[in-house]
């Protein structure tokens, strides 16, 4: 029999309007159960404290897990996560809530080249001074490295770079931190975040007025001067730009770096022998314990992926934490190994790979550059800026206190304070 005659696909009728094929693909097959994990566990305190065992269950058993309770698909394998992340054609991000709150036409100016260049210059100029300031303020032998160093450096650097007057720093930073709450799911948090944004607007408005009269060498002045909006830059534009800089995740990254170093004395030896290993320690930290556990992408169209039909609007929960410990990519993925041979040791480009090796996926710690090399006329990527700051700060800390070690009887751990918050160490008690 001539099969080509039997199956002439051109003659197949067009699907009628409203014809749906979900049931063909989407139905969970008889015999497939998800008894190994319950969606409720993915929004539990257990997940906040240690998400890795739960994510391993997903990655090894349900690589595209349909979480019915929370209406999302969990993507947990490295290649799957990066495939969603680099597929702008089929998956999109949705504007964060702070963009909705500051709706009246305000714009983040973070993408303006001059603003990025100025940010890079200011960070490079101030980082050493800020770290020195923090280090000289240590007045006792036992300190909580998380709160007295890992939080202090990024926040103080940030307020200095953008140009907040000394007397307003405290209030500004508190408002800045609170304002980020508007992106969460919790209505009380959102409310606090919204009112913080309103307060911050008043404050930034005054600073902008002062900078217009008397420009300074800071980021606010740069934003006011360089933007080309065909209108005056408002305080709301400035705030949106600040929020897009995502400085708070730097805190998580730095704290996780030092948590990993303190918890792995043998690896710490590598740093003490050769300070250049600090850069690799940072890269391994991004892989081993990314502070932002996952990022969301939405399906632009109905699309078949990972053996499922993902409906239009489907939320893909791309888990960096799970992907970074994928044994398909990394040997002994649950071990913190500085300079591991299966991790790319430079800035990954575009596809989250370089030299044929995967990198750690770390959302919100600066997007790696998509350019094959850094052109002279553009700033380094945020990925590189944040990495360099972390390395410089850590190196200066080690130079001052080479015998740093965990206090006795302390048991530091990583945790997220709320669902969706950064997963980091808030208590890292060390002896200097």
């Amino acid at each position: 029999m001539d099969l080509s005659e039997e199956y002439d696909h051109d003659e197949e009728p067009e699907a009628a309007p409203g014809y749906r094929t979900y049931e063909v693909y989407q139905r969970e097959r008889v015999g497939e159960t998800t008894n190994l994990i319950k969606p409720r566990q993915l929004i539990s305190n257990e997940y906040l404290e240690d998400p890795y065992p739960l994510l391993e269950i997903l990655r090894e058993n349900y690589p595209c897990y349909r979480d019915w309770l929370n209406n999302r698909f969990w993507i947990t394998r490295y290649d799957d996560v990066t495939s969603v992340f680099t597929d702008d054609r089929n998956f999109e991000t949705r504007p964060k809530n702070w963009h909705n709150i500051l709706m009246n036409g305000s714009l983040s100016l973070w993408k303006v080249k001059e603003v990025q260049q100025q940010y890079e210059n200011l960070v490079d100029n101030h980082i050493s001074d800020v770290v020195d300031e923090v280090l000289t303020s240590f007045d006792k032998k036992d300190i909580n490295l998380a709160t007295e160093f890992c939080i202090q450096v990024p926040l103080r650097l940030f307020s200095k770079v953008i140009g907040i007057p000394e007397e307003d720093v405290e209030q500004f930073l508190a408002l800045y931190w609170k304002s980020r709450l508007v992106n969460g799911w919790n209505p009380s948090h959102k409310q606090r975040g919204t009112s913080a944004m309103q307060e911050m607007e008043t404050m930034v408005d005054e600073i902008c007025a002062a900078r217009r009269l008397e420009p300074q060498n800071d980021l606010i002045t740069s934003i006011l001067q360089t933007a080309n909006l065909n209108r005056d830059v408002t305080a709301q534009d400035v705030i949106l730009t600040f929020l897009d800089i995502d400085q708070d995740t730097f805190i998580g990254g730095l704290s996780n770096l030092w948590f990993n170093l303190m918890a792995n004395p043998i690896e710490m030896e590598k740093i003490l022998d050769d300070r250049r290993m600090l850069k690799f320690a940072w890269l391994e930290t991004l892989r081993f314990s990314p502070p932002v556990l996952s990022a969301e992408r939405f399906a632009k169209y109905e699309i078949e992926r990972f053996g499922r039909l993902i409906p239009q609007g489907g939320l893909m929960m791309c888990s960096a934490a799970a992907a970074n410990r994928d044994p398909r990519q990394f040997n002994e993925p649950n071990k913190f190994v500085i300079g591991r041979k299966d991790l790319c040791q430079r800035e990954p480009r575009g596809q989250y790979r370089a030299d044929g090796l995967p990198s750690g996926i770390a959302f919100s710690l600066g997007k790696p550059s998509i350019h094959p090399a850094v052109p002279k006329e553009r700033a380094r990527s945020m990925y590189a800026i944040v990495r360099d700051c972390a390395v410089i700060a850590s190196e200066l800390l080690l130079n001052s206190y080479p015998n740093l070690k965990l206090q006795k009887d302390t048991n530091p751990k990583l945790t997220a304070l709320n669902l969706g918050d950064i997963h980091t160490c808030w208590d890292l008690n060390v002896e200097l």
Partner: protein, 481 residues
């Protein structure tokens, strides 16, 4: 100076974990009708913490939360669960009729157990399949089968007085009082027997059929017993396979009271129907059966239980129904308005829309909350009150188009529009005929409050909440003959 200046900011950061419970929040149980205080916004509008939807408090006392949503967030965006809730009667009705704007979607883990069912189809495909079996559940095909319903009910009641006491009645001969649990004695078995009859399941398989039904029902919702549910479905599928082979060649027929053939039973009809020139596969037929079993069993059980619970708590209304048999229909509809066992239906919107100022991106999951629509004070006065005499509820023939005229609206328990519950009519008949026969069997019936599950105060009876009551203990006088 600089260090000091960041310290307060740091304590703010660290305090967030203490000020707010983390991922899990325990909500206190509130008196029925009162909502937990979840905070207020700057305008005094109550906030809704989406964790409430996962709580036991919400399951037993959902209505005050739906009221907050109806009044302040007619479209509520739950960012934790990534979905929207539509809670007002009018909005839900509009969405149900807009088949182009809102798609039906797979129903979660129930898909594994029930399989590929009508619930998940839209448009032409939905109509085509529905037409095959829908007519068995309405009109003359149904009317001619009512005698079978009566016979099944009578048979069950006769079992109360059998020597080996299969229905576990507690008999106090001294006081002349019998006590039974209505579910065990009647409501669990009655609907499922009717379903088996209409489907054409042979008599000798009825017991297994009841077991499959129980296992599949308890396996819905991805619960601990999900695996058992899946196994039951596989067993059912194996059984149906042989049955289908048999009925493809030799269809069997349902008969009316005089023994005249009315039409094929549903399984025979499915075996001998074609869609697009293809006969339906055994797997497809199993899914149909599973849906009819799921839709026709548990919900009708809940309807009978809730109806008796509510009527016996309102003795004046029960007496009115006893005096006037026609009021059973009214009572049935008011019970479904007040406490239906199906909470609502999920939909996906096909295009980005704006409802009540909320932008809903295309493809979002939207819960149409039928139970909230039934308690919408824009439609029903004193919606929390059970009142069969209310004059704003339509209780005539169930219409696909719904009813909204002259100040009377139909309830939403069966939905409206293309996806109106196909079992609405048969469920109505089962509940009313079953209840009439029960009423005749009971003399001086009342709720045995001691045996009933209690609410948080340990005294009052547990509320129906979302769904139906699990147990209903009744005392009645032992008949003398």
């Amino acid at each position: 100076m600089a260090r000091k200046s960041t310290n307060n900011a740091i304590s703010e950061i660290l305090n967030f974990g203490e000020n707010f419970e983390a991922a899990q929040r325990k909500f206190p149980h509130m008196p029925v009708g009162e909502a937990v205080d979840m905070g207020f916004d700057e305008n005094g509008v109550p906030l809704i913490d989406p964790r409430i939807f996962d709580s036991g408090e919400f399951g037993r006392n959902p209505y005050p939360y739906y009221k907050i949503m109806r009044d302040h967030y007619p479209v509520f965006y739950d960012e934790l669960h990534n979905c929207y809730f539509v809670t007002r009667y009018e909005d839900i009705t509009n969405c149900y009729f807009d088949e182009l704007g809102f798609n039906t979607i797979p129903k979660g883990s129930s898909s594994g157990v029930l399989g590929n069912t009508q619930l998940e189809l839209s448009g032409i495909e939905h109509r085509r399949r529905r037409n095959i079996y829908g007519r068995h559940l309405v009109g003359s095909a149904l009317t001619k089968r009512l005698h079978a319903l009566e016979a099944i009910a009578q048979e069950l009641i006769e079992e109360w007085w059998l020597q080996d006491n299969p229905k576990e009645l507690i008999i106090d001969n001294e006081k002349g009082i019998a006590t039974l649990e209505l579910g065990k004695a009647f409501a669990n078995e009655f609907p499922i027997s009717v379903v088996a009859e209409v489907l054409g399941i042979p008599q000798d398989a009825r017991q297994e059929f009841t077991w499959w039904y129980d296992a599949m029902m308890s396996g819905l919702g991805g619960s601990e017993t999900h695996h058992e549910g899946l196994e039951a479905r596989q067993d059912l599928e194996n059984y149906v396979e042989d049955l289908v082979e048999e009925k493809r060649g030799n269809p069997t027929y349902l008969a009316d009271e005089s023994g005249e053939e009315i039409c094929m039973d549903i399984i025979s009809e499915l075996c001998n129907s074609e869609i697009d020139g293809d006969v339906m596969s055994t797997e497809e037929i199993t899914s149909f059966i599973a849906l009819v079993v799921g839709g026709g069993g548990e919900t009708t059980r809940g309807a009978i239980m809730n109806l008796w619970y509510l009527l016996l708590q309102h003795q004046d209304q029960y007496q009115a129904v006893q005096r006037n048999e026609e009021l059973w229909d009214t009572a049935f509809h008011e019970m479904l308005r007040h406490s239906t066992s199906i909470g609502g239906q999920p939909r996906h919107n096909t295009n980005e829309i704006v409802m009540h100022g909320v932008i809903i991106p295309s493809g979002s999951l939207i819960h149409m909350v039928d139970v909230s629509a039934n308690h919408d004070e824009r439609i029903f006065t004193n919606p929390e009150e059970f009142n069969i005499f209310r004059d704003d509820l339509y209780s005539g023939k169930i219409l696909r188009s719904g009813h909204n005229k002259e100040g009377k609206c139909s309830h939403m328990a069966f939905g409206v529009g293309p996806h109106l519950c196909p079992g609405a009519w048969i469920s109505h008949q089962e509940t009313v005929i079953g209840s009439q026969i029960l009423e005749a069997a009971f003399r001086n019936v009342r709720i045995n409050k001691e045996r009933m599950p209690k609410d948080i105060d340990g005294v009052s009876l547990a509320p129906i909440g979302l769904g139906s009551i699990r147990e209903l203990w009744l005392d009645f006088e032992i008949p003398t003959n």
